[in-house]
Symmetry: C2
Subunit: 140 residues, 2 copies
């Protein structure tokens, strides 16, 4: 008897519990609960086509869009996303070589959530400023 992808997913959800620090899904949650992961997954797919892949972006484009990210941090985060299977890395033998990143289906399955997180921060910034001022006044 074969199990469908949906059945497998249902079982996985039942078996893993990210509340528990010893559960591997806790470590996976820790890895994706990261501002650079949120921003990279939000960015990919937002641009135009690159190397024929819809939503793919060059390393240099990502680096420009995520103003403030260090080369080391961007490279490390992209490598970990590639290893986990959320992005693909394509090297085109131009001079100099072109390196592009695109979302896999798994990466795509997280993109909506990541964009919601980014959008939430932008939308509610003013409310949070107000709340902080009120708190600081109350606590003294």
């Amino acid at each position: 008897m074969t199990t469908s992808a949906a059945q497998r997913r249902e079982r996985a959800r039942a078996e893993y519990n990210a509340f528990l620090a010893v559960c591997p899904s806790h470590q996976l949650l820790a890895r994706v609960s990261d501002k650079w992961v949120t921003l990279i997954l939000s960015a990919l797919g937002s641009g135009g086509d690159c190397a024929g892949e819809p939503g793919a972006m060059r390393y240099s484009e990502l680096s420009r869009l995520l103003a403030g990210v260090s080369q080391k941090m961007l490279t490390q985060t992209l490598r970990s996303l590639e290893r986990d299977g959320l992005v693909t890395r394509t090297v085109t033998p131009t001079v100099p070589v072109t390196v592009t990143y695109a979302l896999t289906d798994l990466g795509l399955s997280l993109q909506h959530t990541m964009r919601a997180l980014k959008s939430w921060a932008e939308t509610n910034m003013d409310d949070v400023f107000d709340n902080r001022a009120t708190y600081d006044e109350r606590v003294g």
Copy 2:
């Protein structure tokens, strides 16, 4: 002329850009892109009533549910969530005192996203394991 909450939100979304490290919303995104924030916001509202507030949880309950969190980390994260206006902290003068936390409307507006993130990690853990094995074999 008064501006509605919706208009204010729309303007805020237009003014802030979390891609930019210098934008305050980037720091807010960094703060909520945190595994303990994800787990606390996922947890609150999942339990029963506490002190008459639906979904409120005692500090001790949260501490038990988030197995592995240090007291210092839990206290710091809750204080920052309270200051930002995502949770309320209620002290009831029992012996010993009971401290309960509940989501505000702002916290509630992020809860769905946080639960989606936690659920994503639990649902896709097996796929990520497979992807890592494939990557490690390929890269060697």
